[in-house]
């Protein structure tokens, strides 16, 4: 290091850096490629590295304990761990550094697994050299590190739940039960969403309206829950702990009492409300897939109906002879995977140009529940089931399959790349379905039908404005996207916004309840304290250097993150930029555009970038 650099470095205390570098073998994930022992020797000679150690699992307890012990016994004042992605373990090691008694931000994480050993499997020497350069960059960066404190902001300890289906209702009941006030916004006049119109749930076989009523009663009767029906989120802004929400409630023509007995009496006139909430639970749900005109005869053949329409009419059909639209019905078909498991080049794309390649999860069981009900109530009806795979997964569901088979439902298996073809019928039947049936060795079969029920999948309920306002991530399947599909299924990349139910992915009722409970617990955690804490990596304006040119304001992509402030300096009124740390995402766009280097990003300063580049270049890997 040059003298100049030394002078420029802002030392946490005016002490000389003593850097500990820890290299993880990751049980072979790294050390099978990178020569970790040789690497450690070379790292030892980097500037101010006091110790360098190699461990099999740095993230394990003994690995972390080594860091703590070295900080305390060797007087380390900065730490580097070279291991996996910071997404997995940066926090782990920051916490370890803190346990050792240091500010947790005196730490750098180097990813020599995803960015090195995994992508350079066939070049061990190159991977080892690259790891050295990466570590050298981190060591360089640490020479300019500052002690940072987490940002602490006030927290509005109440929640907004968007959507009054069972996911929203369940989340509201749980939060209110925990003592947290909840505002629930439902766009329709009624609570209960899709389940309210179900004949019966599976596998519990509870009537949909009864199920919803029990739940809705808990919500509407709760003093901590305010329900708005025929309402929408008019605008939303802010950040975790501090979301500002405007709710617009439509006028309720002539109604002062809610028609279903649920929800507070709606105002006769349109009204608008404002609230500040700490978290938002998105329980915006899903819609049944609407087939395109002509897709399996839909909207062209009157004898083609969707499953939701069928189950409502079946529930209303009296026992005796099974009739549909006045005509007696002998042969009924159920077709699986309509709008799900679509195949590129086979199924026509959706309006956005994509196909629905996902499985909708609920439909197999829902179809077989209806097929079985039909067969039990009208044994004379022949039932044909066109499927790819019967996905009656889990307990209680397989029963529908075995019972349907026993009741005489005829199964025909098609392949997704050769879906059945629906055509007008002959000889008095309304339809005929042509299908290559792989249960009879790929034979082409023609099945005459009086009625075909399309087992339509789930598509997310469209909420473009909310997605835009909250900058919510959306997956390729158009459902709202979670942070991690395995470990963090109800959190989103937007801190404080949580997902409950089928807004995130297709689910059945039981799974929706789990998701809603999981979203509620994350909300309860966020709302359990008076303050919210955020990472300190936000922009900061040096008011002395800022010339008020406002170019940063134009560049900033996050509404409200950069503000224009008029201040008096020596009797002169001047404009300066100021950062709202709650809304700043630390993207650095303002830093790059600033002509006077007046803005810097905490934890990622321009000096640190310079030092990292120097570190990358200066480290000369030794061959061998």
């Amino acid at each position: 290091m040059t003298e100049q650099e030394q002078g420029a470095a802002q030392q946490p205390e005016s002490e000389k850096p003593r850097i500990g570098v820890y290299i993880c073998r990751c049980g072979g994930n790294i050390s099978d490629v990178v020569d970790t022992e040789a690497l450690a020797k070379q790292v030892q000679s980097l500037g101010d590295v006091a110790t360098c150690k190699v461990e099999t699992f740095m993230c394990s307890d003994p690995g972390q304990a080594t860091i703590v012990e070295d900080i305390q016994k060797q007087g380390l004042n900065r730490v580097v761990v070279a291991s996996c992605s910071p997404f997995l373990h940066e926090l782990t090691f920051r916490t370890a550094v803190q346990r050792g008694g240091l500010n947790p931000y005196l730490y750098e994480h180097v990813n020599i697994r995803e960015q090195d050993s995994w992508v350079h499997k066939h070049d061990p020497a190159g991977a080892t050299a690259k790891a050295l350069r990466m570590i050298s960059a981190a060591v360089g960066k640490l020479h300019h590190v500052e002690q940072l404190e987490r940002i602490r902001l006030g927290n509005h300890r109440q929640a907004l739940v968007v959507g009054g289906g069972i996911a929203g209702l369940k989340a509201a009941v749980e939060l209110a039960g925990k003592g947290i006030p909840v505002i629930l916004v439902e766009q329709s006049p009624q609570l209960g969403g899709r389940v309210a119109s179900l004949a019966r749930t599976f596998p519990g076989e509870i009537e949909g309206p009864e199920f919803v009523h029990k739940l809705a009663d808990q919500v509407t009767g709760h003093p901590l829950i305010r329900v708005f029906r025929r309402a929408r989120v008019e605008s939303v802004s802010g950040f975790v702990g501090n979301f500002d929400v405007r709710i617009a409630v439509e006028s309720q023509p002539g109604a002062s009492e809610p028609p279903d007995g649920h929800g507070q009496a709606a105002p006769a006139e349109a009204q608008e409300f404002h609230a500040s909430v700490g978290t938002i639970i998105m329980a915006t749900g899903s819609d049944p897939y609407t087939p395109a005109r002509g897709e399996y005869g839909f909207a062209e053949q009157p004898a083609v109906v969707t499953l939701p329409d069928f189950l409502r009419q079946l529930a209303d059909t009296p026992d005796g002879e099974f009739r549909w639209n006045g005509r007696p019905v002998r042969n009924v078909g159920f077709l699986h995977c309509v709008g799900s498991r679509q195949v590129d080049g086979v199924n026509p794309p959706q309006p956005d140009g994509k196909i629905n390649d996902y499985c909708s999860r609920y439909c197999c069981t829902a179809i077989l529940q209806q097929a079985l009900t039909l067969k039990q109530r009208f044994p004379a009806v022949n039932v044909f089931d066109f499927y790819q795979d019967i996905r009656t997964y889990g307990r209680g569901r397989e029963d529908y399959y075995t019972k349907s088979s026993a009741a005489g439902v005829v199964f025909l298996r098609f392949h997704g790349d050769e879906p059945p073809v629906v055509e007008p019928g002959e000889n008095g039947s309304a339809l005929k379905v042509r299908v290559k049936d792989w249960l009879t060795f790929g034979e082409e079969v023609e099945v005459p039908l009086d009625l075909l029920v399309l087992g339509v999948g789930m598509v997310p309920h469209a909420i473009p404005e909310l997605i835009d306002r909250l900058k919510l991530p959306v997956g390729a399947d158009r459902f709202l996207q979670e942070v991690h599909p395995k470990l963090r299924p109800v959190e989103t990349a937007v801190n404080g916004v949580l997902l409950a139910g089928t807004a995130q992915a297709p689910m059945d009722i039981e799974e929706t309840f789990s998701a809603a409970g999981a979203a509620a617990v994350k909300a309860a955690i966020l709302l359990s304290r008076d303050v919210v804490e955020l990472d300190p990596f936000v922009a900061e304006v040096d008011a002395e250097k800022c010339n008020g040119c406002e170019r940063c304001l134009e560049e900033c992509a996050y509404t409200g993150a950069l503000l224009k402030e008029t201040v008096e300096i020596d009797g002169e009124t001047v404009v300066k930029a100021r950062v709202n740390p709650g809304l700043c995402f630390g993207c650095g766009a303002c830093v790059a555009i600033c002509p006077t280097r007046a803005i810097d990003l905490k934890g990622w300063t321009l000096d640190q970038f310079d030092a990292m580049v120097d570190g990358l270049i200066e480290a000369v890997p030794v061959a061998g």
Binding site: C59, T92, F211, Q504, A520
Partner: protein, 455 residues
């Protein structure tokens, strides 16, 4: 310190807001979700380390994240949480109502190691002269009679297995901190809990349930958990070999529904995860053994979760062979291979006889908790913990006792995590109600009427 005054049997009574029974992924998530709300939580785990089944997996579907890489942060977070106490190597013998809370009787099994002085250095393990089949490695690897259970175990304390200890004293002498306590005895502990979450997990039913598969006759008819260890980056062989003789497999068969969807073996239900883990294992195998033939014999591919169907289609595109057909019989041959007799439904219905040198049986998930009655809960006919109220699906029907994860039915990791969150929510709801009944005040809703809107 002399070993004689180590840990004698003693009675303790400690009160927690919640006790979580089981330190697998469901239990840990439930514990974290309660502790993050400032409840005091005790996690009781019967194994010497937390982490459950998940910590022994290779990678997870459909993200293909390395399992130990994503499990250790949860384990570590629980271990270091100021509101969580871990009690490993302990069993819960009984849960009984006591006033408005639950009283749990626990037994701490002797580790023969003083955890207050053990530093997990493994010097005892290096000196121990006896090795036995390692339960963590499904028996394929070896572990010494005293050992730290596995590399990323939490807590990192040695544990001695008295079944294999010859009492030679080598560990006692090797220990740098005089932590070996050969006179340790089981210890009974009573704790009180405001709420209990049962997260007791699952095990797989036996490969030998179906005599027609002849799993007793070949070491190369293996369980999927066994294959997980073979595929793990730090697994026992360091690569995939067949267990009978160390041969690098050339043709691997996966037999789906080998322990589920079959009334005759007492598992009528679908175990939910076998299709996906088999597809994942097939994918990992094709990476580990690029020249091997890999075939999945299935009835229905149940790729129902988020991203699952796409994962399945990727596996097909990778060249993994999917054959729809029920495997009727597995016949081990004298050369070590197995011949599978299958009716190939999509191939003219002919009966095929296919030769493979490694066979993986996708066994069914059955509950680990055999007697939920002892823990205050009831069970369904299939043995899983009963949950009578569909509106409170985490509740067992017994005051203050909740259930999460595979104790309540087969499910994958993400569904276990969601259910654990939900159980933690229902438990905290319950605890808050008790507090409110005690006079705690609730905040009021803050809402401002702006007035009539435009129209």
């Amino acid at each position: 310190m002399s070993p004689a005054n180590g840990q004698a049997t003693q009675q303790q009574e400690i009160r927690y807001d919640a006790v979580v029974v089981g330190g697998g992924i469901a239990g840990l998530q439930a514990a974290l979700d309660l502790a993050d709300q400032d409840y005091q939580v005790l996690v009781v785990e019967k194994q010497p380390s937390i982490g459950g089944r998940m910590i022994s997996l290779s990678k997870v579907f459909p993200t293909l994240d390395c399992a130990s890489c994503i499990t250790t942060p949860k384990m570590s977070a629980a271990a270091h949480h100021p509101n969580i106490t871990l009690m490993t190597y302990a069993t819960v013998d009984a849960i009984e109502p006591a006033g408005d809370h639950q009283r749990l009787t626990l037994t701490k099994k002797p580790r023969y190691v003083d955890t207050s002085t053990c530093i997990g250095c493994r010097l005892c393990e290096y000196e121990c002269p006896v090795e036995y089949p390692d339960p963590f490695e499904e028996g394929i690897g070896a572990v010494r009679a005293i050992a730290v259970p596995f590399a990323n175990a939490i807590p990192q304390y040695a544990v001695l297995n008295p079944d294999y200890c010859i009492a030679c004293g080598a560990c006692v002498r090797a220990c740098a901190s005089d932590a070996i306590r050969l006179d340790q005895q089981p210890e009974t502990v009573t704790v009180e809990a405001g709420a209990v979450v049962l997260a007791t997990g699952f095990h797989l039913n036996s490969t030998t349930l179906k005599p027609q598969y002849h799993a007793t006759e070949s070491k190369d008819i293996i369980s999927p958990l066994h294959l997980e260890r073979l595929l793990a980056p730090h697994g026992p062989y360091g690569r995939v070999l067949r267990p009978s003789d160390g041969k690098i497999p050339e043709s691997v068969a996966f037999v789906l529904c080998a322990g589920s969807r079959d009334q005759s073996i007492g598992v009528p239900y679908c175990s939910r995860v076998c299709c996906m883990y088999s597809i994942k294992q097939a994918m990992l195998l094709s990476g580990a053994l690029p020249t091997a033939d890999i075939t999945l014999y299935y009835m229905d591919i149940r790729a129902f979760g988020k991203g699952f169907e796409q994962f399945y289609q990727n596996a097909k595109a990778m060249g993994i062979n999917f054959v729809k057909g029920k495997v009727a019989r597995i016949a081990p041959q004298s050369d070590g291979d197995m011949v599978l007799r299958v009716e190939a439904i999509e191939d003219g219905g002919q009966v095929m006889e296919n030769r493979h040198d490694l066979v993986v049986l996708a066994q069914g998930i059955v509950p680990d908790l055999v007697m939920p009655e002892n823990l205050g809960a009831a069970r369904e006919t299939d043995g899983f913990v009963k949950r009578p109220d569909p509106l409170r699906p985490a509740w067992t029907g017994c005051e203050g006792i909740f259930v999460a994860g595979t104790a309540a039915g087969p499910k994958d990791i993400v569904d276990s995590i969601m259910e654990a969150g939900s159980a933690a929510m229902e438990a905290s709801h319950y605890l808050a109600q008790k507090r409110a009944a005690g006079g705690a005040e609730a905040p009021a809703l803050q809402l401002e009427v702006i007035g009539a809107s435009g129209d």
